[in-house]
Amino acid sequence: MSAATAAARRAAHAGMIGSAARRNAWTLGLLGFLAFLLVFTKLIQPSYGVTGVQGLAISVLPLALAAVGQAIVVISGGIDLSIGAMMALTSVISASLMKGQPEEFGIAVVVIVLLLGLALGAINGGLVVVTRVPDIVVTLAMSFVWAGCALLVLKTPGGGSAKWIKELVTGSLGNEWIPKAAVVLVLVVAVIWVPLRRSGLGLSIYAIGSNRLAAFRSGVSVGRTKVIAYALMGLFAALGGLSLTASTGIGTPVPGPYTLMSVAAVVLGGVNLAGGRGGVFGALVAVVILQLIRTDMTFLNVNTNLAVVVQGVILIGVVMIGSLVQIRRARA
């Protein structure tokens, strides 16, 4: 290799590092905001410590998993409004299957529920691809279907959970500052998302969200990729449902606020709603931020109704400031 090409390669690498920092600037900014919030929390509630972090980790787990699933679908150019209902359905199914059963049976239940999640997601995606009805309509309709199914399984909150599943997300691992729930979350994302991001399938998901025609012309199977993106979302919804069962010990047939909260986290996390841009890490940080804001409101004794308003204002504010910064940078 000549000196010139070596220099060119070095320059290209330097450029890549620079552009990588630029691409992740949003996530870095969110991390800064999170650090600020943690300091703020400690200031207004000096007793905030190990228990607070433990509680935070458990309470963010279901929404964090939902947000990762939602992020994958949004990156592929879609959106799923049935994610909350899916979580309720998978949660009640797991709770009713596990109730009164031996501990080992829990393993089978987990496998069954995860496969079911993949199937539910694939059904959503398949309907979007086959009917060509917009994602938002299909998944809104399916949210009623999944919510109805959940009520058919369990009319009222009930069921049970294997003990080991509950223990999987409560308490800490080794150091008391490392909550098990956070470890589970990091492991799940590391095992599923990280390899996906570096795989051909991951690139295909970004490609169909960025420019369907270009992806099609480049030989990417748009429909198949879309179904897989939805199936992955279903998998994360099932993980979210299992985490609900694990953290409460029962299954609740009424969907929580996870659908819209997951969309909010994805937007705050820097994923472009038009598809093709962003990643799941920003969404994960956003989930923690949203939860921490809620905690701080409680500490500050803010009226709960007002707290919801404040949360909305902060969401819009952060996204707006971020857009302004990006526009500035584009102009500069």
Partner: protein, 531 residues
């Protein structure tokens, strides 16, 4: 220069603009006198588009002043520029696709009578104003855009690559109308990569290179040389002479064809097309707008399915259900419109790597070393400017087109289908693409090249087929493929008969009535096709 400052209709001085690390304009200036047609020239990436956007208020400059009739002003939006008498016609049609023409006119408050008048002048008198913009051919949309701009009677009319997608007959009308604007109190800023057009209608030319105005040239006989010299800055390698290629063409004809097309038909546009494409040759395809060439390429690229005929690759019959099938068979497609090929928000790397994953087994982990080697190979081979590689949309048009070609070259190319790959691209990049196509052919690849610029046939092809009304009407060797011969063949005329006036007139009238080649092509290539 005798004109004083106040004599100038429009004057821009010291304009600069940077986008992050990329300097789009360093110090550009432009002075337009009333009554002149002023050419704005420059290689892609020279800063032409940015200057145009600044003049029309779409982008704000970092520094510099713009004066209209001697008075300095800041333009904040295209609407404001329009009210100030500055109207531009962009490369992309600016009509709302889902509205009919009449509603589109109302949207911009265009007076109807002058619009009809200019439409007539431009050769589209029979236009139905209640038809949807979506259903019109691209060429007609551009003519409508121009007529709309003329109807407003702007002081300064800016035409960005107005003739790029037009067939020869409409181009002639446009040039005639533009030429008639000379001598009045208005002015036209004319942007085109075609020097012949510049020579035909322009009075002066301002040449940009790398973000700077490097010269203002009076357009006279022989000034083309000077303009090219200014634009290029440095000499580029020439493509091999046509005569050499004619001999080479004879050599490869004995081999087995890489691609055989027999009696191919699709819908009403493509009737019966047959030809053979040999390894080691560049085969030109020449046709007027909407003669079935779009359908032909869509079928070969696997985006569309034929209604009849057969395709053979290396002698074996094939049928493509998805572009992935065509890519596996070695047939790769480079469209004219970069927006149809690139992931604009993604990086150069991802764009080049995208087609490596067309097989299901490629969905697994990417081998980073292998990918980087291929991507860097592609970047080096096409000399892509990687300063803004984080997002492809920040590259210049020429560099974007290089990325669409690099993605195929990086993986090793057997058969390349190029549909007007140099449309709207500067001379320097064009030359690089010509050299690359020749190199690919010499390395044994087969290249099918549709071109709307007839002189490209002699520059890069061994031979050319001419399609008219969905059939191959002529095959011309490179030695005889001068622009006149090709144009006659494209109109389906015998080479010895003079071209009758009414044929040109008919071709114009047929344009909109026949429906849109572009519309058919784009509806046929929707990704939904692959369930």
């Amino acid at each position: 220069m005798t004109a004083t400052r106040t004599d100038l209709l429009l004057e821009a001085t010291g304009i600069s603009k940077t986008y992050g690390a990329v300097v789009a304009l360093k110090s550009a200036s432009l002075a337009v006198r009333p009554g002149e047609v002023h050419a704005l020239m420059g290689a892609n990436g020279a800063g032409k588009s940015t200057l145009v956007k600044i003049l029309t208020g779409a982008v704000r400059p970092d520094s510099g002043t713009i004066a209209v009739r001697g008075r300095e002003r800041t333009v904040h939006s295209p609407g404001e520029a329009r009210r100030g008498g500055l109207v531009s016609v962009y490369q992309e049609p600016a009509l709302i696709p889902d509205l009919d023409i009449r509603s589109n006119l109302r949207l911009t408050e265009t007076p109807l009578e002058p619009f009809r008048h200019w439409l007539g002048e431009l050769g589209l008198e029979g236009l139905d104003l209640s038809s949807l913009a979506r259903s019109m051919p691209l060429a007609s949309l551009r003519i409508i855009d121009l007529a709309r701009a003329l109807a407003i009677e702007p002081d300064v009319l800016m035409l960005d690559e107005m003739t790029a997608a037009l067939p020869a007959n409409l181009t002639e009308r446009v040039l005639e109308v533009v030429g008639r604007q000379r001598g009045g109190h208005r002015a036209v800023i004319f942007i085109s990569h075609r020097l012949i057009e510049i020579a035909a209608v322009c009075d002066r030319a301002t040449v940009l290179r790398e973000g700077e105005t490097v010269g203002v040239v009076d357009v006279t006989d022989g000034s083309e040389e000077r303009i090219v010299e200014l634009m290029l800055g440095e000499v580029v390698r020439d493509v091999p002479a046509a005569a050499e290629r004619a001999a080479a063409g004879a050599r490869v004809l004995g081999a087995r064809p890489r691609l055989t097309v027999r009696g191919l038909a699709a819908g009403t546009k493509l009737q019966d097309v047959s030809f053979e494409l040999y390894p080691g040759e560049v085969l030109g395809v020449v046709a007027l707008e909407g003669q079935g060439q779009d359908e032909l390429f869509d079928i070969l690229a696997g985006s569309d399915r034929p209604s009849g005929g057969e395709l053979l690759v290396d002698g074996a019959p094939v049928s493509f259900h998805h572009p992935a099938d065509a890519i596996r068979a070695g047939l790769v497609y480079v469209p004219a419109d970069r927006a149809e090929a690139l992931l604009m928000q993604r990086s150069v790397r991802e764009n080049i790597a995208l087609p490596f994953i067309t097989r299901l087994r490629d969905w697994g982990p990417i081998n980073p070393g292998d990918e980087r080697r291929k991507v860097e190979g592609g970047i080096a081979r096409l000399q892509i400017d990687t300063r803004a590689q984080g997002e492809v949309r920040r590259l210049s048009g020429g560099n974007q087109q290089k990325v669409t070609i690099a993605r195929w070259v990086a993986g090793g190319v057997k058969t390349m289908l190029c549909f007007d790959p140099t449309r709207g691209i500067d001379i320097r990049t064009k030359q690089q693409i010509y050299v690359l196509l020749r190199d690919l052919a010499e390395a044994g690849a087969a290249v099918l090249l549709y071109t709307s610029e007839l002189k490209e046939v002699q520059l890069v092809c061994e031979r050319a087929i001419v399609i008219f009304g969905g059939r191959v009407v002529a095959e011309i060797g490179v030695a005889d493929a001068d622009e006149t011969a090709l144009l006659r063949a494209a109109y389906n005329l015998r080479s010895d008969a003079p071209m009758p006036e009414h044929v040109a007139a008919e071709a114009v009238a047929e344009g909109p009535a026949e429906g849109s080649a572009e519309a058919v092509a784009s509806s046929g290539t929707e990704p939904e096709a692959d369930r």
